[in-house]
């Protein structure tokens, strides 16, 4: 549905996007993840035709955004980082204007707008001036604008930024629902938001794709080395030495102590079976293991490990992790 090939954007000497390529299949929800200034918005602005690329191309459903801008734009609903709202209009007037812009037939307009107002839950403010609305409502009106004309591709730049937790859940649910029928690209620097809705994550850092995969695969791929949290009752020094004596256990840290209960975190490449040995070793020393649990790398940790010193990596990024 979306094919981005070798996209490069330079402002003078500064390269904001560097040879970025990816595909998005029909019906897929793809999340752009990256720190502020990584190039997420630039990529979206190029795909939607707001700015043009220095090199490379973006195709929407086979239509090149630079060569057939009108055809490509017909297929895209775009919510930029700051919703593009006319504050002097009421919500309904604004949506009617967007219908006119996107050439929605006059006869279908009312039903179409009613449906979208229902989807994004803004019926209680539809006759209020946009300038008087709260940030959360403005965001939703912007989202409504992106949905006008029923485009098959929806591109959302930081759709939940500045919203309260309840509004975030609302918007997330709307995006999930959209993903059932549409191709969606959304960006965020908030990781939980991406992992909650996206089928695939593209991590962008310093204008390059650092890595891409499904949220689950990313965790599997990057989380080969498990962190284990272990709480043990007994002498702290003895327990620490015992842990360190195992091959394949490293970075042992005591994270907290409460009486004779001590919690440790360490990294291990031992399989679950091998880790039974840890249990018996402690039992032999007459020290009780109170708990032992895997701490998988969260998307946040993956994100940090991929983006830290991101300038060094070429494309895979895995080598740095």
């Amino acid at each position: 549905m979306i094919t981005v090939s070798n996209l490069t954007k330079k402002y003078g000497q500064k390269t904001v996007l560097d040879n970025v390529s990816f595909d998005v299949k029909e019906g897929e929800i793809v999340g752009f993840l990256g720190p502020n200034g990584a190039g997420k918005s630039t990529a979206m602005n190029i795909i939607t035709g707001y700015i043009s690329a220095t090199e490379g191309s973006a195709q929407i459903d086979g239509h090149d955004i630079a060569k057939e801008p009108i055809e490509a734009k017909k297929r895209i609903g775009y919510l930029p980082e700051m919703p593009p709202l006319y504050v002097d209009m009421t919500v309904r007037e604004y949506l009617e204007f967007v219908c006119d812009l996107k050439k929605v037939k006059k006869a279908d307009m009312k039903a179409h707008i009613d449906g979208i107002i229902e989807t994004v839950k803004i019926s209680d403010v539809e006759n209020r001036r946009i300038g008087n609305l709260s940030k959360g409502y403005k965001q939703r009106v912007g989202l409504a604008g992106a949905l006008i004309g029923d485009p098959p591709v929806i591109i959302l730049d930081e759709p939940t930024v500045g919203l309260d937790p309840k509004q975030i859940v609302d918007v997330r649910n709307i995006i999930k629902k959209l993903g059932e029928t549409k191709t969606v690209i959304l960006s965020s620097h908030i990781l939980s938001e991406i992992s909650a809705v996206a089928d695939r994550v593209i991590i962008i850092n310093r204008g390059r794709i650092a890595t891409e995969d499904t949220p689950a695969n990313l965790q599997n791929r990057l989380g080969k080395s498990h962190r284990v949290q272990l709480t043990v009752s007994g002498d702290r020094g003895k327990a620490e030495n015992l842990l360190k004596s195992f091959d394949g256990v490293s970075n042992v840290v005591c994270t907290s102590s409460n009486g004779d209960e001590h919690s440790f975190e360490f990294e291990t490449q031992l399989s679950a079976n091998d880790r039974k040995k840890i249990f018996f070793a402690f039992a032999k020393e007459n020290m009780a293991i109170i708990s032992q649990q895997d701490k998988r790398l969260t998307l946040e940790e993956i994100f940090l490990s991929v983006t830290d010193g991101g300038g060094k990596e070429s494309d895979g990024g895995e080598g740095d992790i």
């Binding site: 035709g49 700015i51 043009s52 801008p69 017909k74 775009y78 967007v98």
Partner: protein, 234 residues
């Protein structure tokens, strides 16, 4: 284009700007008409047109200062430039809305020649010619204003830049008295739209003048479109 035209025209009336413009334009032309025709008892509208011609360009930038600069400030340009509308469509839609506002004001002033015609013969051809001149000259000033508005997100800067151009255009007609070199004077007068405008205003219809004014307006609209295309390239 139609959608943008409609929204922009409506926007003049949801803010004070449209009313302020119409109020000033009508009060101003009304006063000029009163002092040049009714009070003096002259049957000719020549003086009325001349005074209006020099002063009304000062009101026209009111209609254009915000048309593009505000979009950049509010980021609504992202809506317009990612919608399935050509850049030319966006520029023309906004320009035509400003032009329509001018047209609304101008349409009301038709009342003055009509009043005049009750007290004496108003030369119809000359008056129509004057109106054509007025319309073309306004198109030119509005196109310059639109271009200036596209260059900046600051409305004050856009207004100031437009006034500089408008004043330079008007000043060219007085250049004759200051510049000693005849060649420079002739070039300045040929380039300045004001003399061509005055020709039309005084009922001397010349197709060259009309084409010249329309072309300069077109040129500035073209430059406005190019400004957007260039910004897209970054």
């Amino acid at each position: 284009m139609k959608a943008i035209f409609k929204r922009e025209l409506n926007a003049y009336f949801t803010s004070a700007l449209g009313y302020a413009y119409l109020f000033l334009f009508l009060v101003f032309t009304g006063l000029v008409f009163y002092f040049t025709s009714i009070q003096t008892g002259l049957s000719s509208l020549t003086t009325y047109f001349t005074v209006t011609a020099y002063l009304s360009p000062l009101l026209l930038p009111l209609l254009t200062v915000r048309i593009f600069s505000e979009d950049r400030k509010l980021k609504t340009d992202q809506l317009l430039l990612t919608a399935p509308v050509s850049t030319t469509g966006v520029v023309l839609g906004k320009f035509l809305a400003a032009f329509a506002m001018f047209g609304i004001g101008l349409a009301v002033t038709i009342i003055y020649p009509l009043i005049q015609s009750r007290y004496g013969a108003v030369p119809v051809a000359e008056t129509v010619c004057a109106y054509i001149g007025f319309i073309l000259f306004a198109a030119l000033i509005l196109a310059v204003g639109a271009f200036m508005s596209s260059l900046t997100e600051n409305q004050i800067t856009a207004a100031a830049a437009t006034y500089v151009v408008v004043c330079a255009v008007i000043a060219a007609v007085f250049a004759v008295n200051i510049i000693p070199n005849e060649t420079i004077v002739n070039i300045a007068l040929w380039l300045s739209p004001i003399n061509r405008f005055l020709n039309l205003l005084h009922g001397r219809f010349n197709i060259n003048d009309a084409v010249y004014l329309a072309s300069v307006a077109g040129l500035f609209l073209f430059l406005t479109v190019e400004t957007f295309e260039k910004r897209r390239l970054g």
